[in-house]
Homo-oligomer: 158 residues x 2
């Protein structure tokens, strides 16, 4: 059984707050976002394979990755505005199939008692309509299934 | 007399659309955003002096500048998510005095007849409250006075 995924989005606004706890220390949770080989193992819905094609994980750096499933190929890219180890990632995010609709994620990492941790992602979309489209196209499922893979990875499973 | 500055922000949303026309070709308008020496001459309200401390104007690059007036010093920084010459700049923006409140500007450049041009900046703030604070603290004045300096620069005045 996994921890609940909480997505709060006030109707009429263009942002969502995504909160999830993990049964792992904050340093391990952060490393799963910092290391491209680890990141590729959990990001995205369950049936996709991820290839990281660019990775420069530092303030001012950037990234790009491609996901493939039976239906096709989906590329995503962005820049890292701020990286603070074990604490904060601020990054842009764009699905190349929907060019110039760039969102920003302000992702906070918190240490909890008992070697546990919490992630809070304030995800800001360019308009209300873009957020509603992302919700309609399975944003919640993609996030939930990704974090379930991350749970298994942090527990030491392949 | 300068062209009107139009700022449209629907109450309850966290973004504003800023539209301004210029009596100069789109290439000159874009260059005033691309060249750090030109940029420093017009950005910000009328009484501030700007020093560009970092400038890497390309997709994946970044920038930082410091403004000084009689009261103090204000630093701003961000990354360039997308640059398309004479057409589009997508960049993050942070006032270092209000850390981690990062906004995104999606700035479109349009050629108009008669050697004129139009700029449309879709400016996205992380929350409704951040946009309202920026409005209360003189966002409109800073933009208006900056573009009036840009008018004079594009007209060939110092």
């Amino acid at each position: 059984m996994s921890n609940p995924l909480v997505i709060e989005a006030v109707p009429g606004t263009s942002y969502a707050d995504i909160t999830r706890e993990f049964e792992a220390p904050v340093a391990a949770l952060f490393r799963a976002h910092a290391d491209p080989e680890l990141f590729a193992r959990w990001i995205g819905p369950g049936d996709e394979r991820t290839e990281v094609t660019h990775w420069d994980f530092r303030t001012g750096g950037g990234y790009r990755f491609v996901q493939r499933d039976g239906d096709g190929e989906y590329a995503f890219r962005g820049v890292f505005h701020t990286i603070r180890e074990n604490e904060l990632i601020i990054q842009t995010f764009e699905y190349e199939g929907w060019p110039d609709q760039v969102s920003v994620d302000i992702i906070r990492f918190e240490a909890l008692d008992g070697g546990r941790s919490r992630l809070v992602d304030h995800s800001v979309f360019p308009t209300v309509e873009v957020l509603e489209s992302m919700q309609a196209e399975g944003m919640e499922r993609g996030i939930r299934e990704g974090y379930e893979k991350l749970d298994r990875m942090l527990a030491g499973e392949r």
